[in-house]
Structure formats: C-alpha cells, structure tokens
C-alpha cells in the first residue's frame, strides 16, 4: 500500500473511527461495536508481535463475525460464571496515526498505542500495546477490515483477558 499525504479532514474522520471503537468497547455497546466491522472484518490478537499468518501461528484471538457474535453473547449468558460479578474495561489511547493510505482504493491503516485495563471481581489486569486498524471506505463511512492488537506481553504468560482489547 502506498503512503500518501492524507488531507486533515480525512485524517480526523479516520481517527474518529478508532476513538469511537474503543469507546463502544468501554461502554459495552458491543452490538454497535461489532457493526463497525466489515462483513469480512476480523479481530486479531496474536501471541507474538512478529506473527504473520493467523492460520498457522498461535493467537489469543482471531475472531470473524460469527466468533465475535459468540463472544459477545457469551458475556451476556446467565451461565457465564466468570462474569459474575460483571467486569468492565478501559482503553487509554494515544492519538491514532495514519501510517498507510491508499486514497484511490479507499484503504487506510492506523496505528494507535494504548493502555488497556480490565477489572473483574476486584482484580485488575493492565496491558500496554499497539492497535493496528485497517479501514475500508464504504457507503456508510469507514468499516474495519482488520483490527490487529499487538500486546507488549503477547508472548508472555497472560492472565485471562475476557473482553476485546
């Protein structure tokens, strides 16, 4: 993908998608969150920051629409004992930076450093990392084709992470 200068208006629109995406997760508006993804959009949490192939390498999550649906519905299940009491999460974002732009093709890549915190039953998990969003222009705005989350601790022993980072 070629790097091009992105007009300031467009840059702000792209950044707004990333900021809104994190807010919807933190507010647990997960149906709206899921609709930010294109039909073929994928959420990816690799187990190594150097991972290239989600099919043949370890990942913590690689969720298409159906698996996101399952994950979201499971959080709401009366049988999800790990969510009793219900947990919450918090994203602290740095300014998203547009690092790839294909103006003609309508494809854009953004890099956003973050600090993620998950609170559940009095226990706190804090994980720093970088989110990579690939966005595609659509009639309704921009849709997420891929959200790849590279944790600083991707390859370390992790505690349970129950929400989408």
């Amino acid at each position: 993908m070629s790097e091009q200068v992105v007009p300031p208006d467009l840059e702000r629109q792209l950044q707004a998608v990333v900021v809104r995406e994190a807010r919807l997760l933190d507010e647990q508006r997960l149906d709206e969150w899921d609709r930010l993804f294109a039909d073929d959009g994928v959420y990816w949490l690799p187990a190594s920051s150097s991972a290239q192939d989600p099919r043949l390498e370890a990942s913590h999550l690689y969720d298409d629409r159906m698996l996101r649906r399952v994950h979201i519905e499971r959080l709401r299940s009366a049988h999800a004992h790990s969510q009793q009491p219900a947990g919450r999460c918090h994203h602290l974002l740095q300014t998203p930076e547009v690092i790839e732009a294909d103006l003609a093709g309508g494809i854009f890549g953004l890099r956003t450093a973050f600090l993620y915190t998950e609170l559940r039953a009095g226990r706190t998990v804090t994980l720093p990392g970088v989110a990579h969003h690939r966005l595609r222009r659509a009639a309704s705005g921009f849709l997420i084709v891929l959200k790849r989350v590279d944790l600083l601790h991707a390859g370390e022993a992790l505690p349970a992470v129950e929400f989408y980072i």
């Binding site: 099919r55 043949l56 390498e57 999550l61 992790l158």
Partner: protein, 443 residues
C-alpha cells in the same frame, strides 16, 4: 542437600488420600507443594520438550522440571542433555530463557567458566588459582547438575531428575500408545513443534488442571456459556450455511452426559489414563483434503484405518502433561506455587500432512486454550473458585468418589465409564506413592 524437618511424615501424607476423597491440604498447603517439588517431580518422568526444538548440535531450549530450571541441549554426539541451568561456580543462570544455539560449550556470563553440552566443567580462567585449594573435592568441580535419566521417545523428551528410580518404560507402559498414535498420524512418521506456544497463568493448584482433563461431568455445565452459546448461534444461521471448523470444535463441549459417559476412560498404572476410549469430542471432524491419501500412501489402507480410528480425547501423563493425539496438542501444567500454575499449550505439525491440519490444530489451541478463550474462561473461573473455597476450614474433604468400586486400580488398562472419577483417584494413588516413597532418600 539439607532437608528441613516436615510434619508431613509418611503416615500424615497417607491420611490425606482416602479411597474416595482427598484432604484440601493437597491443594492449599505450601509445605506439601514444596514436597511435591522435592519428591514427586524428581522421582517421576516429567516432560521436558521435543527433539524438533533442538535439531542441530548446540541448539537449546530452556524450561522447568518441577521447581528446577533446566536447559535441554543437543550434544555434538546427537544425544540430548537435560542440565540444571545454574553455574557450578556462583549459581548464576547460565542460559537465557527461550531457545537458540550455544555453540560447542556453555559459557557463564559472570566469570567465563565454561561447560560442555554434557554439563562437564571444561575451563576456568586463571585455573592455576585453584591449585592446591581442595578444588577437586568441591561440588563446583562436578560441573552442572543434570537429570538422572533422559529418554527421547518418538521425539518427546522426558527426564527423571533423580539418579535412581523407576525406568521410563516401566513408568509409562502402555500409556505410550497415545504418543504413538499422535506420531503415527504424520505421513512422514514424525512431528515438529510449530505454531508457537500459548502461555496462560492460572491462580490455582496444578492438580486441579490435571484432574479436569478426565472430568466428563463438567463440560455440559461449565461450558454452557461458551459452547452452548456457539450451538445456539450456529442454529440461527440460514439453512445450507457451511459448518465452520470453529463450530465443529466448540459444539461437542456441550455433548450430553450420555455421550461423555459412553466414550469411556482407560486407566493405566502410575497415574496415567485417558478419556475417549470408543468415541470422543474429536471423532466427528470433517475430512481434510489430501490427508487420507497421504496416509494411505505411507501406511496402506488397513493401518491408516486403525491409526485414524483411534480418537482418544485427553490423555493424562502423570504428573503434569495432557496430550491430544487427534488434534496434535500438548498441555503442560507447570507448578509455580500451591495456588499458582503456568499452563503452556503446544501445537505440533504432522510432517507430510496438508497445512490445513496445522491450521485446525492452531484453531483448537486458540479457541480452547488461549487466555482469550471463552472455554478457558469457564474453566479458570471454577478452578480459582475452588482454590478460594478450599481455604475454608470448616470442611476438609474434596470428593472424588463418583463410580468408585473396591479393588479399583488392581488391573492394568481397566476401562470404566466416561463419567467415572476413577482417573482422578488413579492420579492420587500415584501421588501418594511418589510422595511418600522417598521420605528419607530425597537427594
């Protein structure tokens, strides 16, 4: 080594394990945990790694065996050493965590003492400074401590830390048939560790994980939220939608009691056993294009049918690994403290098989074993609640009595109903034996 006095005499340990229940102290007591490290994890055969991780001379992989930090290294003669990762001089950890190549010798980063890949002390700078100092009689002169015995079985590396004890084949016996089946599933007859390992911290005792591997009364309850939700959402898909591999993998977790009861459990001596004798959650996966053909070319029709017809679910190799032949994963339950366990989940490539099989293996590992797995969240929650609940001092016993019968464990390779807790009891019989046999002899 200096053995501190323990209140856990042989008689006291024996009083913790009854036919059909165990005392909560086996999960909560730090002193018992320390005894597990100095007795059980030294006298049993413990998984170290796989020979595909160290193909060339000098290649190494660091891990732990019980409480001991070890390095598995390929020697120039082609053999594999399991060395304690501690310099014989000042105790410095010699080899960095992870894997790589050491070259022809191991060099300490502190004072440049060097050791061969067999652990022998090779050289010390200014060695004449030790002349006449009595060095020859010191422990430092012995080089690195090393496992008492190492066995590479069809690529899987195990060690027994103690210099004396049960032999490898006596210890594992017929249970090796699960490893055989996993290797035989490769058209080339060998496996490679690949894909990357998932590492997941659990706030519970390691034995809770070991027991859960053959607990067929929990999936339809604990995994209702994850697998049950998957089945419901899959049911909402339009007619004719191709069934995704993820649904094939999740759905059997909410099989009925009857399904799990019928699959059966086979019990072997020394704490080993497996679920899925006649059926399992791995039995109904879709065929992988090209795989059957590659297998038949390698083994012929009849042998291929026998290899692929074996669909064992979870095989527990006592004390702390579980192997799934049909899906090519291995899990290690590494004890860190009485209430802390590191779970490593490994994936293997069947050499000579299509990539789609490795893709299926990696998917299973991700969906079931990762720190992001919803199935894993269900399990971890109940383990940690149990660890917390067992702090209560008003009840002392944990019940493992389901389908117990007198004389259990007297015959080898006994097959029992799938919902029996017989394999958990089998593990505790082995636990008691290896915990109490070395009361005076711990080296």
């Amino acid at each position: 080594m200096i053995n501190s006095a323990t209140r856990w005499t042989r008689a006291a340990l024996r009083a913790l394990v009854r036919d059909n229940e165990v005392h909560r102290a086996v999960y909560t007591d730090p002193e018992i945990f320390n005894l597990e490290m100095s007795r059980l994890f030294r006298s049993t055969w413990v998984f170290v790694g796989h020979d595909s991780q160290v193909p060339n001379a000098g290649d190494y992989f660091t891990t732990s065996v019980g409480a001991e930090p070890v390095v598995m290294v390929r020697r120039a003669d082609g053999g594999i050493s399991v060395l304690i990762n501690r310099c014989s001089h000042k105790g410095v950890r010699l080899v960095s965590e992870g894997s790589g190549n050491l070259g022809r010798f191991i060099r300490c980063p502190y004072h440049a003492w060097t050791f061969g890949t067999d652990g022998a002390l090779q050289n010390i700078p200014l060695r004449d400074g030790y002349d006449g100092t009595g060095f020859e009689a010191t422990e430092a002169r012995l080089g690195l401590a090393r496992a008492g015995a190492v066995e590479v079985y069809r690529g899987f590396v195990f060690c027994r830390l103690s210099g004396e004890g049960v032999g490898f084949h006596d210890y594992f016996g017929e249970s090796l048939s699960t490893l055989d089946n996993m290797v035989d599933r490769a058209p080339a007859g060998r496996l490679e560790v690949t894909g990357g390992m998932l590492r997941y911290m659990h706030g519970c005792n390691w034995k809770m994980l070991a027991e859960n591997q053959t607990d067929a009364c929990h999936p339809m309850v604990a995994h209702e939220s994850s697998a049950g939700t998957t089945v419901r959402i899959w049911g909402e898909q339009p007619e004719g939608t191709p069934k995704p591999m993820a649904v094939e993998q999740f759905a059997p977790f909410v099989g009925t009691y009857k399904f799990f009861d019928n699959m059966g459990i086979r019990i072997w001596p020394n704490g080993h056993g497996h679920t899925g004798v006649s059926d399992s959650i791995h039995a109904a996966y879709s065929a992988i294009p090209g795989y059957q053909e590659a297998m038949v070319a390698a083994y012929g029709e009849e042998r291929t049918r026998r290899i692929l017809g074996e669909v064992r679910h979870n095989t527990m190799y006592f004390p702390n690994i579980m192997v799934k032949g049909p899906i090519q994963t291995l899990r290690v339950f590494k004890p860190l403290a009485a209430d802390r366990t590191l779970v490593e989940s490994w994936t293997f490539r069947l050499v000579g098989a299509p990539d789609l099989l490795l893709e299926r293996t990696c998917m299973y590992n991700r969906l079931i074993n990762s720190p992001g797995s919803i199935v894993g969240h269900d399990d971890l929650e109940v383990y940690e609640r149990a660890q917390q609940g067992l702090q209560s001092g008003l009840r002392d016993w944990v019940n493992l009595g389901r389908l117990f019968h007198a004389g259990e464990g007297a015959t080898s390779a006994e097959v029992v109903r799938g919902t029996s807790e017989a394999q958990m009891r089998n593990q505790f019989r082995a636990w008691l034996r290896f915990m109490s046999a070395h009361e005076e002899a711990a080296s």
